[in-house]
């Protein structure tokens, strides 16, 4: 049988083979980029975005700290970039995010309690807010949730004057505005500046969607008023929180705020995790505790408008 020839002549065959090899090479390169390099780039991009968020939340904390310190009714704005864009030309998914204010009704049983308890006369400007209706001072917060596609979902929560960074396997905290003073040989004084957030209906939550993943919103904050009742000889200060590990590390972890007093047995710090939410209790041991708690009301609004 005679062999059938596809090409009558073999001239220019090398060009065809070369073109096929080149196309195969380009296809391999693009597939490699798409399968290996692009996920790495997107992971990097999402990590960079989380760093940016950490920076922005730290600015928010600075702004609120300045407002509580100066007690000036000046509006300050802090930007939050909610998500992250897709890469052009390649198949990628942009990440999204959500920022919200958790007011006194949203935080459930998360609160600051003292014994003896504060009453309306201690915090007269907050009597409508929590003294009568709630047991303790609600631990209001500003919360950012990242919905990432290439790295773990992160959460940043600004509560009790501290920033909690929550990842699936760990909780970290930028320390709250607590100053400890060894007043005498038998007494320490805790100065605690606690921001209390109030929100505005319709302006308390903002999310980015797939249409505008990198939406940047502004959190406007304004100082309103404060009460600072001193308490001598408290028998306990309790912080009821969903982030007990972060608070514990912040107080008695490495470089903890109360680590030296705890190690010297001046005070006791106990975690009670049998109830939900768990709480951490600071109580006197060899030394008495005086507490100067300054509660500042901060109006928070996400997006444009007048903040009162």
């Amino acid at each position: 049988m005679k062999k059938r020839l596809l090409f009558g002549k073999t001239y220019a065959v090398s060009g065809v083979i070369e073109a096929l090899l080149l196309i195969a090479l380009v296809a391999i390169i693009i597939s490699t980029i798409q399968l290996i390099y692009i996920p790495d780039i997107m992971e990097d991009k999402e990590e960079d975005h989380m760093s940016e968020i950490e920076k922005q939340i730290s600015y928010l904390k600075s702004n609120i700290d300045i407002q509580t310190m100066t007690k000036e009714k000046v509006l300050l704005s802090s930007a939050i970039t909610l998500g992250n864009k897709q890469l052009p030309y390649f198949v990628t998914m942009g990440s999204t995010g959500q920022v919200q204010v958790n007011n006194k009704s949203d935080v459930g049983s998360c609160r600051i309690k003292t014994s003896p308890a504060f009453d309306s006369s201690d915090l007269p400007d907050f009597s409508d807010d929590f003294i009568i209706k709630y047991d303790g001072i609600p631990l209001t917060s500003i919360e950012y949730n990242a919905y990432n596609n290439y790295i773990d979902n992160y959460k940043y929560v600004f509560e009790g004057g501290a920033i909690v960074a929550k990842k699936p396997d760990e909780e970290m905290m930028v320390q709250p505005s607590i100053v400890v003073e060894n007043t005498t040989d038998t007494k320490i004084t805790l100065y605690y500046s606690l921001p209390f957030f109030t929100d505005f209906a319709g302006r308390k939550i903002e999310s980015s969607g797939f249409g505008n993943p990198d939406l940047t919103v502004y959190i406007h904050t304004n100082y309103s008023l404060y009460n600072s009742p001193p308490r001598t000889g408290i028998s306990s200060l309790q912080i009821h929180t969903n982030y007990i590990e972060a608070w514990n590390n912040s107080l008695i972890g490495n470089n903890g705020l109360l680590l030296s007093q705890y190690n010297n047995d001046d005070i006791s710090i106990t975690i009670h995790d049998t109830q939900e939410p768990a709480y951490i209790e600071i109580s006197p041991n060899n030394k008495d505790i005086d507490l100067v708690l300054t509660v500042s009301k901060i109006g928070v609004q996400i997006g444009p408008g007048v903040v009162k």
Partner: protein, 284 residues
């Protein structure tokens, strides 16, 4: 001698050779990117990181200024990034940074006024360990921010609260000079005074009236002030640049490698006011 023929059928050999050459060219391009382009990108990254650190030191100074002014004990935190990341897939070296607080217990710098009144000169130092961009140190000292590079002299980038004004009589002649100096003194509790690595940290500061002067200390017979600092050249340039001509005509400078002395020339009296502000500082 007869040549050995490896490929008997020479059909399409040119295409294969061209393909191999293309791969070689691709490898050469990658090598060129690694050798020339990647260092440029990394230097740019490190330069941006330095810019971020300079912004944060500026913010730190603002925070301490506000705390001193308001005399508020509420702590404020300032984030300091340490370094930047490597690039994926290419051979790169990450940069890192080290932060230290030289507080009043460990400093050997000081300010001495009239050879009699002594105030510790304390620092917050950031040392960048860059791999591609020039090494830079940022130093918060005496209320100012100084930048230091291996080449050249340190520069006072953010001025401290040290100023002098000539006071004039009705004929507009200078009849006395007033100088004001707000001096922050950093104090560390429990020696939380060092941090470093590749990520970030927070410097938390709060004012304390424990060691602070609530009022100005007034020295009507000012004769001299000595600033003992490793950055005396930065202090000299700052004073020389910011003090008015009428002030500079009535003072003389003596500068060594680690000190700067300002002495009155005699003639026009100088009224000197200074105030210590105690700032508790820690690295979280």
């Amino acid at each position: 001698m007869k040549a050995i023929v490896l490929v008997k059928d020479k059909t399409a050999v040119a295409g294969v050779i061209e393909f191999i050459l293309l791969i070689a060219m691709f490898a050469i391009i990658l090598a060129l990117i690694q050798v020339f382009y990647i260092p440029e990108i990394m230097a740019q990254d490190e330069s941006e990181n330095m810019e971020e650190i300079s912004n944060q030191f500026s913010r730190l100074k603002t925070m301490i200024d506000i705390q001193s002014k308001k005399e508020s004990e509420i702590p404020l935190s300032t984030r300091i990034p340490f370094g930047n990341k490597q690039l994926p897939y290419f051979v790169t070296v990450p940069s890192s940074g080290y932060l230290s607080i030289v507080d009043r217990d460990i400093t050997d710098s000081y300010i001495e006024i009239n050879d009699q009144y002594y105030v510790d000169l304390t620092d917050i130092k950031y040392k960048a360990d860059n791999a591609y961009f020039t090494h830079q140190d940022y130093i918060y000292e005496g209320g100012g921010v100084i930048i230091k590079q291996p080449e050249g002299n340190p520069v006072m980038w953010q001025n401290p609260s040290f100023n002098a004004s000539p006071m004039r009589d009705q004929h507009l002649d200078v009849n006395n000079i007033v100088m004001y100096f707000d001096i922050p003194v950093l104090v560390c509790k429990d020696h939380d005074n060092f941090g470093g690595g590749y990520s970030s940290c927070y410097i938390t500061t709060n004012y304390s009236d424990e060691l602070s002067d609530s009022n100005w200390n007034y020295l009507p017979n000012f004769s001299n002030i000595t600033i003992k600092s490793d950055y005396s050249i930065a202090w000299f340039k700052f004073i020389n640049k910011t003090f008015e001509k009428d002030v500079k005509q009535n003072i003389s400078f003596y500068r060594g490698s680690d000190f700067l002395e300002i002495r009155e020339k005699g003639g026009i009296p100088i009224n000197f006011y200074y105030r210590k502000k105690c700032i508790f500082t820690r690295i979280d």
